[in-house]
Chain length 355, copies 4
C-alpha cells in the first residue's frame, strides 16, 4: 500500500523536528515536503536545521531539500496531509490557505478557539471531529484545520475525562511544573532556570483554562458547549528537559473514592484500547497509574508508551472537598502533548474517513 | 552588656550549622556550647563537621570543642537558651529533659502537635506564647519548649495571616516546589533530581495541613482553637538549592480584590515593623510583594531581607472561587523557615520577658 | 539453541541493575540466578530493588527470587557465566571463590591489578585473554576472573589504541568531567552538585593512570608489559546523569595530522567491525567521530551505538606538542564503561572458546 | 573628597550590570553617566534593563536616565573614567573615540591584541601600564584604552605568575569548565546545558593561549615580549551559574615541589597585599589555597574575597612531567574575571597616577 504523502510546515524549528521524529518510519504516512522560511529554503534539511533530539535524524529526510514556506500554496495537490508546526504569527494565514484544499493538522493555537474548529484528542472527544463538516461548509473549504491542545492541557484533559464521565466535575485547581522544551529553542536561558523555578509562563494559564472546558464539552453536531466546570491554573517552569508535571485538585459532583477513580481510569484505558489500539502511535495504555508514592517522575516515566501515555500517581482523597480527589500527572509535552499526539490525531481522522 | 549564653544541640548536622550561621555575630546571643553525637564529641567543631555554607564558618566557633549530647543535661546551668536542631528520633526525649530547667527553641517537630506547645511565628501568633505558662504549669517545667513550624508551613502561614484578618479564609489549596536543602544532608541523591521533579515528600503535606490551622488559630489563654478553614496540599521536590516556592489558591469569606490583598499585606508589614522591627533578625519587610509577572524566583529573591522576608508575587483573582485570590510565594527554608526564624522567635521571647 | 545460564552477583545495586538491563532479551545469555545480601535475599527481585532506569524492568526478571550471596558457592554448577557487580569490599573473596569453578566477568576493581589478570576490552587488547590460561594454571582454578576497566579508562583506552598503533604515544594529559551515575546510588548528594563542579573523585586518577598503560601494553603470553607512555589525569564530577566526557591531550612519537588521526580511527572501526561485528552487544561503529565543533555532548550523543560507541570530537593539532593532537571524548559510563561492556567481553570470550 | 565621575558604556547588558554592581557604594568612583543603544536610551535605567543579579539594583542608579551611546563623544568632558562593557562589534570604534580624550577601562577584547595596549592585571603585570605612554604618543590620544583579559585567562595568569617567577614555566595544558554567565544573557539555552557538558566555546581557547603569554611577558618600556612558554587549552561549558573551574598541568623549568609551589603562592599573596591591599576592590588574599581534597568548588568558593580571590586546590606532583605540578583553580568570571577586576585595575591606575 502506498503511504500518504505529507508536508511539514515550519519543519526546521523544534516543533517541526518533533513531527519529523514522530513520523520516522511511520507505516501510513511519509514526509515528502519540508517547508520553512527563507533562511532555510533550498538547503538540505540536515544543513538547514540544528537537530536537537538524541534520536538521530533519518538519513532520507536529512537529504530532502527544504522548500520556501510561501510556495506551499501552489504545491498542495502533491500532499494528502499538511502537518503544521508554524509559529503563531504566521500559522493563521498559512494554515487557512492550505485548508482551502487539504487537511491541516496543527500544533499551533491559531484556530483553537474558533467555534467551528475542534481541539481534538481522539481518546477524549473523537466526536468533536463532527465539527469538520461544519467548518468546511461554513468556510467553503475542501480541507480543514484540526489543531491539538496546548501541551499543558493535554494530560489534564485526558485524566479529567474518566473522572467527568464517572463522577461529574465541579471545580479544578491545577499547578504545573513545566519542562524547558515547552518553550522551544533557544527558549529559556540557562541562567534563568539553574537553581530556580520560574512561576510564570506567558498566556499558558488562560489557554489551559479555556481549552480544557471546550475539549470536555458536549458536541451537538454543529457546535460545542463548554463543560460546566471551572478551572484555575498556576503554570510554572521547572528545570526539566521534557515532561510536564501537574498537581491537580478536583472537586467532583458525586463521591469519588480513590479506588473508584483508579477503576474509572482503567475502564477508560480499555475503551481507548478498543477504539484506538490499532492506530500506530497509540500507546498500550492511555493512562498509566503508578502505585509508588513518589511517582510519576519526568526522568523515569515520560517515555512510557513511547511518550504517549499520561502517567498518574498519588491519587488520594482531597483534604478540602467533601467530594474530590487530588493527584499528580505527567505528560510528555513534545510527544503526546505536541507532534506525536497530532500524528495520532491524523491517524484517527484517516481511519474515520476524514481524509 | 553580657551576651546570653546559648547551646546548640545537633550542632554538626545541616540544621545545626544553620543555627551557627544565624547566630554568627549576634548582638544578644553567644554560642558557648556545641553538642552532638559520639561520632563528633571531643573534636574541634571545624573538624567534626563538613561545613556546607558558602559563608565561611566563624573561626572562634570552629575552634570550640564539640560535647557529647548525652551530657547536656548536667551542663544546663551554663546556658540561658538551648537551640535544638536535633533529628526527630532523639528530639523528644532530650528537648523534654532540657526544658525542665531551660527554654528550648527548636526546629524539630517532636512537640509541635501538643496542646500546650505553641508553634510560634512572632509575626503571626505572638499571643500563642501565652501557652508557655500553661506548659510550665502542667508539666512542672522551669523551662519550656517552643518549636517553629515546618519550613513549608512558614511562608504559607505568614501570607495567610493578613488575608485571614482582612477577608476571612474558607479553603486553601497549595502545591509546593521545595528546595533540596529542606531534606538535609546528604538528603536527596543527585540522580533522583537531575532533569526531574519528585512529586512527594514524606509526611510533609500532613504537617502543613495540621500546623497552619493551629498557628492561625485563636489562643484563649490555656489552649488554641484551630482556625476554621481547611487546607489541601501537594508537596514536591524541585532542583533548587534553597527557597521553597508555593502556588496558593485561597477562597475567602469576603470579596478580596487583588489590590485589597496587597494593601492588607502592606498593612501587616507596617504592624510587624512596629512590633518586631527592633529584633536583630527581623527583616525590613515581613512580606515583599513583587510586581513583575515572573517573580518570586528562588535564585533571585530568596535572600531578600537576609532570607527572612516572605516574597509574594502573581497575586490575582482566582478563576474558580466566587471570592478568592491565587498567588505564588517564596520562603527561604533554611533561614526564615528554620534556624534563623527560630533565632528571631528567641529574640521575641527574650524581649517579651519569657527567658 | 539453549541460552547460557548466568548469575548476577550484587544484583540489586545500581551496577547489578545495569547487568540486568544489558542482558534483557540477550540472544545467547539468560539470567537464571540473582544474588544479593541478606537485606534482599528471599524477596522477589522487583520488591528487593528500587529500579533506577527509565527502561522498565523485564517482568520475568522482576519475578525471580533473590538469593543470598553467601550461597552462590554451592550453586555454581547451575551457571555457565557469573557476572559480578559486587562492591569492592566483598568482590575479592567471592569472585575468587566462584572462579575456582566458573568464569567470572566483573565490573569490580578487585583483581584488575594482578599480573595474571587481563583488564579486557576486546577491541583494544583481545590478545590479553591469553592470560586466562596463565591465571588458571597459576591459581589452580577451573574458571577465571576477567574484570573490565574503570569506566573512565574505557573511552580513553579505546581512543588511544588507534593513535598508539599508527603514531606511537609519548605522553597523555586527561581531564574528565564525569557523570553522577559513576558514583552509584545514592552516590553524590544533590546539594553537592547543583550549580557546581566537584574537582575530585576518590582514587579515580590513580586507576586510570595505572589501567590505561596495562590495557595498551603488550602481552607476551605469560604477562603484560605496560605500554611505554605516561598519563596524568585530573578527574572531576559534573552535573550530568550519564556519560563521561574527557578532554585529552596526546603527544605522539610521529607526526599525527588531524586527518590522519581520524583516518586511523576509521580504520580501527573497520577492523573492530570485522572482528567483533557479530557480537550482539557490539556497536556498528566502535568510535563515532563528530564533525560539529561543539560535540560530543553527553545528552545528545551518549546513546549512540546503544551506549557502546565512544564518541570523539574536536580532534585538532595540539598547541604545545611538536607532534600531538587534542580531542574530546564521550563514553557511556554505565553501558560501554560498565555492565554492557562486560557483557560484550563475555560474548567475545564465548566466541573465542574460553567458556 | 569628591568622587571621580564615571560613565558606563553598554550599561544595560549583563556585563554593564556587573560594572554597576562592582561600583555600588564605591569610595572613589561614582557613576554619573549610563550609555546604551537606542532601545534603552531616554528610559530610566531600572526600566531599560532586566536586572539579573540577586543583589538588588541601587535605587539612585535605577533612577538615572540612560543616554544614547552615540552621544558619549560629546559628553566626555563630564567624566574622568569611561568603563566599557560594549559588545565587540562596536567596542573598537567607540572605545577608540573616547580614548582620544579620556581613560577607557574595558572588558571588551577589541584592543587586547594590539602591541601598544597592556592587558592589565595589576597583581601580575602592573609594569605593563608603562605601555599607556607608548599608546598615547603613538596614537596621539590624551586618554587611553586598558582592557582586562578574557575571564578564563584571569585565574590562569594569576596562578601561573608565582610559578613562573619561582620555577620558570615550559608548557601548560589547561581544560576549563566554564560558567554560564560567561556567555552573557540570554546566552546558553537551557536545553543545551541541562544534563550536559558543551565541549566548545567559540574563540575562547585562542584568546587564552594568546593572552596568557602576553600578560606574563616582559615589558621593555615600549613593548611586551611574550613569555617563552606554550599553552594548550580545551574550553568547555558546564552547568554552573558563576565561577570558571580550570584543570591545569604545568611543566616547570626547575623542580617544583608541591610545598614550594604553595609557598610561592603565599609569598605572592604577601607581595600583592603590600602593593595593592589599599585598593578598595582588592581581596585580602589574591590566591586562596584550599587544603581539602575536593576543593575549589564554584558554589562554595566563588565568593571568597568578594569574588576577587582566585581559589586553588589539589596542588600535586604531575604524573608525566619530570618537573611539574597539576592543580585546579576557580575564578569568579563576572567579578575578578570581568567588571570588578576592571574596577580594581582602574583603582590601581588612579593610585599610580595614570588618570
Amino acid at each position: 500500500m502506498d503511504k500518504m504523502k505529507c508536508a511539514v510546515l515550519g519543519a526546521t524549528g523544534v516543533a517541526g523536528q518533533q513531527f519529523i521524529e514522530a513520523l520516522a518510519g511511520h507505516p501510513w504516512f511519509e514526509i515528502t515536503g519540508l517547508y520553512a522560511s527563507e533562511k532555510s529554503a533550498n538547503k538540505k534539511y540536515k544543513e538547514a536545521c540544528t537537530w536537537h533530539s538524541p534520536t538521530p535524524l533519518e538519513e532520507a529526510v536529512g537529504e530532502q531539500k527544504v522548500q520556501l514556506l510561501d510556495n506551499v500554496g501552489s504545491d498542495l495537490k502533491q500532499y494528502e496531509i499538511i502537518f503544521s508546526a508554524l509559529p503563531s504569527e504566521v500559522a493563521r494565514q498559512i494554515e487557512g490557505a492550505c485548508a482551502k484544499e487539504k487537511p491541516v493538522i496543527s500544533t499551533a493555537a491559531a484556530y483553537r478557539y474558533e467555534e467551528d474548529v475542534p481541539v481534538l484528542i481522539p481518546e477524549v472527544n473523537a466526536e468533536h471531529a463532527g465539527l469538520i463538516k461544519v467548518q468546511q461548509k461554513g468556510r467553503g473549504w475542501k480541507g480543514f484545520v484540526v489543531p491539538g491542545p496546548n501541551c499543558t492541557t493535554m494530560g489534564l484533559a485526558i485524566t479529567l475525562k474518566p473522572i467527568a464521565d464517572s463522577f461529574g466535575i465541579k471545580n479544578v485547581f491545577m499547578t504545573s511544573m513545566q519542562a524547558l522544551s515547552g518553550a522551544g529553542y533557544p527558549g529559556v536561558p540557562s541562567l534563568d532556570i539553574i537553581d530556580n523555578i520560574i512561576p510564570y509562563i506567558s498566556k499558558e494559564e488562560e489557554k489551559v483554562e479555556q481549552e480544557a472546558v471546550k475539549i470536555l464539552g458536549k458536541c451537538s453536531g454543529s457546535s460545542v458547549a463548554n463543560a460546566g466546570f471551572r478551572i484555575s491554573c498556576t503554570c510554572t517552569r521547572a528545570n526539566v528537559s521534557d515532561g510536564h508535571t501537574e498537581s491537580v485538585f478536583v472537586e467532583t459532583e458525586k463521591h469519588a473514592a480513590v479506588e473508584d477513580v483508579s477503576a474509572a481510569m482503567e475502564r477508560f484505558n480499555s475503551e481507548c484500547k478498543k477504539k484506538f489500539g490499532h492506530l500506530p502511535s497509540a500507546p498500550e495504555r492511555t493512562i498509566v497509574i503508578k502505585e509508588e508514592e513518589n511517582r510519576p517522575q519526568p526522568r523515569l516515566d515520560r517515555e512510557l508508551g513511547g511518550g504517549m501515555s499520561t502517567v498518574v500517581g498519588r491519587i488520594r482523597k482531597d483534604a478540602v472537598f467533601e467530594n474530590g480527589v487530588k493527584y499528580v500527572l505527567l505528560s510528555h509535552n513534545t510527544k503526546k502533548g505536541a507532534a506525536k499526539g497530532e500524528v495520532m490525531a491524523a491517524e484517527y481522522l484517516h481511519k474515520a474517513g476524514y481524509f
